[in-house]
Symmetry: C2
Subunit: 351 residues, 2 copies
């Protein structure tokens, strides 16, 4: 027999009595207990019970009886539509989940989240949270400063949901190589040519890209302005670092200094950054380069952004989708005014 | 025996005599004939011959002898570095190619291009052009109004080259379906719910997305604001078209009207547009939908832009790479002030 709920609009919950506590809370993880034998349901929980036919109606403050359609049309609560869709999706995948706040959960996640999702087979009372889940529509901007570790559920305009795991992730590697000293080089409009460098500069340390097919036996290396700035600063090539950096700024504006900060940090961490152009990213990175001959695949794609950047979910979907398609992980390097870098990675998640 | 050239800096060509005409022009497609037995070489052609050791040096106006390195350091001519790299790459792939202007080619391509590339096995004199090729560095912006049919070669910062075939491409399809009349629907914050529509609205015409798992036998369809605006305008759902469009603009700003113009055009052409969110695009499209049960894969990913949009090559690389990875073609819909649409497609090309 389906029960009826009472919409306490001031408190923003739906109260249900009778045997709701045993049927919906104790055995199925909905809501939280009130005095007596009532339970309080969040609007998305009440909507889900209406949706499934477990609640017949919800009566509002004026006495109007609302069925699923009418309750949904009220859009009770912030982001109701997208939160309901995610709630329903995770329920259908066999998870228990609750609003990520007291009194639904005794120990809510530290980071702001919409839902606490429990490990499969466990419920709200077991005290273990699998995912701290945040829900957004695809048109919701995400300022970089508001990124939090956890799961991000993005609901697109046709109500499909994509889940992302957002984690802090500092890249590190084992690549190290001695740099040469004062190699001859020329600064061109948008690149640098290094003439007859020691063969290890490319073969072991993976700087630049050889110019192929010269009939003379004179290895020539082309470097990006970024690589060249790094090498010039360390005296490995005989160019004025200032001149190379100036050229870099001419070509790419303020992006250049940000990318150089990230490039430098990566090299210092033993990671080899190469251009990510073909993947639409700033860098692709190799953690453990011993020789170019035995090069594995790059593991990360990195996008460099200022720390006040605002992400659009659609671009996140694109970046992560591409990375996944080429078996790499998408990472973001957020650079502050002083050149400090904050690292995040985003991966597609199937809950 | 390697020859020497003379750099005529005013004319911007390198002149070579002796048997250059027979050795470099007649048999290998470099340069164009001058009076007597001299030929004139474009700077990239001269650089290539220096590179290969066929020219020993180029003497400039002041009498200085320039080897490959010194000639390159001069950066003779606009976009010299990137044009040289593409020239060398295509030569190494077995193509003959020339600057795309007279007198190198008798009949240059109509569209502005850097090089005329000839079909494999054919040369400048055979009168057949395989590709009208334009060369840019990865940091060069491409205004939408400057897109031309042909091949675009993008040289990244580490001198790798990606080739794109740019074509005009009007989508068309065979999907047609009768629309229902006045279905009940509710306008929510960022989507629309259609209550108990005829089953064909989704099953044959592929509008919306069903809400799954309802225990009642009441099919419920969620539509995007875009689909809903289109349906409302045609009386298929009982919502005020103006209200839906207003909501669309609240959610996505001016993009909404552009996307609606493209959505409408596609439906009119018998193509079914669905959201492209998961691919970071505006739409994925199906040309021939008979029923959702027998749905094939979508063929195109479409990005919608205003006609004054400026493309960044890095984003083009990303879009095209993703499309290729999911076996679709990337297309761009450029929308003018009046809602007219110009269609382009971009595909990766291996010359």
């Amino acid at each position: 027999m389906a029960l009826e709920g009472r919409f306490d609009e001031a408190a923003g919950v739906v109260r249900v009595g009778d045997d709701a506590r045993q049927r919906y809370h104790d055995s199925r993880g909905y809501g939280y207990p009130l005095e007596g034998n009532e339970i309080a349901l969040a609007p998305v929980e009440a909507a889900h019970l209406l949706y499934r036919g477990d609640l017949e109606a919800v009566v509002d403050d004026s006495g109007e009886r609302l069925d699923f359609r009418a309750f949904v049309a009220r859009e009770p609560g912030r982001k109701f539509g997208v939160r309901f869709l995610v709630y329903a999706d995770l329920r259908s995948r066999g998870f228990y989940l609750s609003p990520a706040s007291e009194p639904w959960v005794a120990d809510p996640p530290e980071e702001p989240a919409d839902f606490a999702v429990f490990p499969r087979g466990k419920g709200p009372g077991d005290g273990e949270i699998e995912y701290a889940l945040r829900v957004i529509g695809e048109r919701t901007d995400v300022p970089a400063g508001e990124l939090t570790a956890g799961v991000l559920a993005v609901v697109d305009e046709e109500s499909e949901i994509t889940y992302f795991e957002v984690s802090r992730r500092d890249p590190s590697g084992t690549t190290g190589a001695t740099l040469p000293d004062g190699c001859e080089a020329d600064l061109l409009a948008d690149r640098v040519v290094v003439w007859e460098p020691p063969v290890d500069l490319y073969e072991s340390a993976f700087y630049g890209q050889p110019l192929e097919g010269r009939e003379y036996d004179k290895p020539t290396l082309q470097c990006s302005l970024l690589e060249a700035a790094y090498l010039a600063e360390r005296g490995a090539i005989a160019l004025e670092p200032t001149a190379v950096r100036e050229r870099g700024r001419e070509v790419e504006g303020e992006r250049f200094d940000r990318r150089l900060a990230v490039y430098t940090t990566l090299r210092e961490r033993g990671v080899v950054p190469k251009t990510g152009y073909k993947f639409g990213a700033d860098f692709r990175t190799y953690a453990d380069v011993e020789s170019v001959e035995n090069l594995g695949h790059s593991e990360l794609l990195i996008r460099v952004h200022p720390d006040d950047y605002v992400f659009e979910p659609r671009d996140l979907a694109l970046d992560v989708r591409l990375a996944h398609g080429v078996r790499k992980t998408m990472a973001f390097a957020l650079v502050d005014e002083a050149g400090g870098v904050d690292w995040w990675s985003l991966e597609r998640l199937t809950p």
